[in-house]
Subunit: 418 residues, 2 copies
């Protein structure tokens, strides 16, 4: 009934057991409040994942983040030790975020061909918050957003909670297919196209240069603005990806998202949006109203990561580590899944999108695997119509866990098929 509250010492107890009886002073019916809110709850699978991630002894085969082994504890500590007194920001920052960090980012973005200035950059607490700000800051209720299908965006409710609709566009090996975008834009009166061109989440697809050109040309022709979610860009393994869409954006069509979460540390909670200044001003104003800006400590640390050159150094280590992990994972998949699944070898990012060939309930597989200590990210999280896929991540679990986990998973799949 919504009446459990903690007591000091760690336990919890149900308070006011007279609730719902004919008590003379009933407490508020929190349950009705919990159900009333505007924002949709996470799906049961995601709630289960969010909880299970903190169980010990669980092998996390789907988690889209760097392994604790790969997080730069030593470097972060060194940054703070080197900091001279008074250089750390402990107060509120400017509405768009720490100026020095935005300067550093403008330089960083230039390396991938994006010409911008600090005033066209907003610091956010991760790319997800940027989407949240775009949702409440730029769009009408009832808007439609075109996106790749499947897409990470289906697994969060930033747009749907504001009565907006996601309209999935099919993909091929080169990225989002352009043939249907014009029709969908008209049919659904779409406001935006959301895309993850580099090392797409969850499929790992790298949009080709040709496709990038086609997408930009089409969107310009249709006056259809884009959100380019490019948080995996720096995690290439074999060769750097083609230039971002934003690099060829002459008409201010693209809101570009980046983040430290995938490449350095999700715990920093630092991301950025780059776009036309009036749009950035609007998003900054809303950010001030929702959380008064991102952690100044984190912003300071992020700026140091770039200005000291540590970011590049770290990235080249991480790329090597991810390459090893990817190769070991593919090897293990070849060993155990060759007969029952298909996949492509990703050229960067964290994910292998494996398609289970025999018909199988992915909900059942998720629960069964969780009981055996394996946490999966099933494909239906990324596509409302469901599919026979799993997002396998090689970034989080250790190589030995991945080997053990995939072998066990193959056994579970085969049992379910019997």
């Amino acid at each position: 009934m919504g009446l459990i509250e903690g007591k000091s010492g760690g336990g919890t107890k149900v308070i006011n057991t007279t609730w719902n009886l004919l008590a003379s002073t009933p407490p508020p019916d929190w349950n009705s409040y919990v159900k009333a809110g505007i924002h949709k709850p996470n799906t049961p699978t995601i709630q289960a994942i969010n909880q299970a991630e903190f169980q010990s002894d669980i092998i996390r085969l789907g988690t889209g983040e760097l392994s604790p082994e790969l997080l730069p504890y030593y470097q972060t500590k060194a940054l703070f030790q080197q900091a001279a007194d008074q250089t750390m920001s402990l107060g509120y920052e400017e509405p768009k975020g720490n100026f020095f960090l935005r300067q550093q980012l403008a330089l960083h973005l230039k390396e991938s061909g994006i010409q911008t200035s600090p005033s066209a950059i907003l610091i956010v607490s991760g790319a997800l918050q940027a989407l949240q700000l775009i949702s409440i800051g730029l769009l009408h209720k009832g808007s439609s957003i075109l996106l790749e299908k499947p897409s990470y965006l289906y697994s969060v409710h930033v747009f749907q909670s504001n009565d907006m609709r996601l309209v999935g566009v099919p993909m091929d090996n080169q990225g989002i297919q352009t043939s249907i975008i014009e029709q969908y834009k008209r049919q659904y009166n779409a406001s935006l196209l959301y895309s993850i061109p580099s090392f797409h989440n969850p499929t790992g697809t790298l949009m080709t240069e040709t496709r990038r050109k086609q997408v930009m040309e089409l969107c310009e022709q249709l006056s259809l603005p884009l959100i380019e979610d490019d948080v995996y860009r720096d995690l290439w393994m074999d060769a750097p990806p083609p230039s971002p869409l934003k690099a060829t954006d002459k008409n201010g069509m693209v809101l570009y998202l980046g983040s430290m979460s995938k490449s350095v540390s999700p715990g920093l909670r630092i991301g950025w949006v780059v776009g036309p200044e009036p749009v950035i001003d609007r998003l900054a104003d809303i950010k001030m109203q929702t959380d008064y800006g991102s952690s100044a400590l984190s912003q300071w640390a992020a700026a140091e990561w770039f200005s000291t050159g540590l970011y590049h150094e770290h990235l080249s280590d991480i790329r090597e580590e991810l390459r090893d992990r990817r190769d070991a994972t593919i090897q293990t998949l070849n060993k155990h899944f060759k007969e029952i699944a298909s996949w492509k070898v990703p050229k960067g990012g964290f994910y292998i999108w494996i398609h289970i060939i025999p018909n199988l309930s992915m909900h059942e597989l998720f629960s069964k695997a969780l009981k055996k200590g394996i946490l999966l990210n099933p494909g239906y999280l990324y596509d409302y119509n469901g599919n026979q896929c799993l997002r396998i991540s090689y970034s989080y679990a250790s190589i030995s866990e991945i080997k053990k986990g995939i072998a066990l998973l193959a056994t579970i799949v085969k049992q379910l098929l019997k």
Copy 2:
């Protein structure tokens, strides 16, 4: 037209000057997007304040935060220097936030009589974010919230942007008046009462123990849940304030908000909500969907502040500093404003609420003062119906700036009266 974008090097230029002409490929009309968003923009005065705060040579007489002189740079650096390798959290945290921090907070809250456990605490990025989560997580569109009038809450749009209504209840020297709450609850079908009982923002009022009892009894009787915003509690000067409402909350009526922003560092962006577990679970789930949790670096630092005992040490220094600043400010007001304004001496917090006696346009005073280099927080930010008041803060500007600023302000007021 929404088409300015930055170029590297720091300048900005208007891109695509053919926009609005008969261009064959018009860019998106960002201006229409900027106007479309669900979330209300900040009021022009607050936007002006947010900008002016980062001008140099401005005396900030209204700013509700600790002066840079009072921020604990040295201590923060020391915390990081003492940190053993691997103790810092750089990954994502549990949905409710870092467990060790929540344990520390449960102990800290016990000191003011609040019995709770880590599972009933959610870490947020400042108390404002808690309000944002409550707004989208617990309330229907069209809900009404009762609150003190004036109130800080009028100056942000967390509830109004979700089509909710603020219903102001008059205050006296003891805090919010209880006589009209029952009627308003019925009349407006109010969902919540929002209150700042300790060192109220903007009036500085400290709710008495008697009034606290009356408020709790009434809310229990009416089944009217409360949000107790207690971010100024630890900033008492003469004697600790009466126990929080939450300390006498036997029925899970109160969602209790606290923060590091006012007492240690706003740049940490660390606050907390304490309440019945199902409510905290719901808010945690939404927080995961909007920003995946608060900065782990900041959470780690916050936990260290409490666990090392540094928080208490620091607070006793800050109290002394604030006492000196308050006394100097009152002295200066006595010197320059005795004839033209009235005020009460606050017993804690940051604010003196001064009522300008002669009739005067506060909008004009704000602009005039800004031109002369004085940034004010006029009372109309905190009360839609306006008033003849200013929120003077003694926390931010240095004592010499306060003296200079108040003297200059008196001259400006007298000029406007001519």
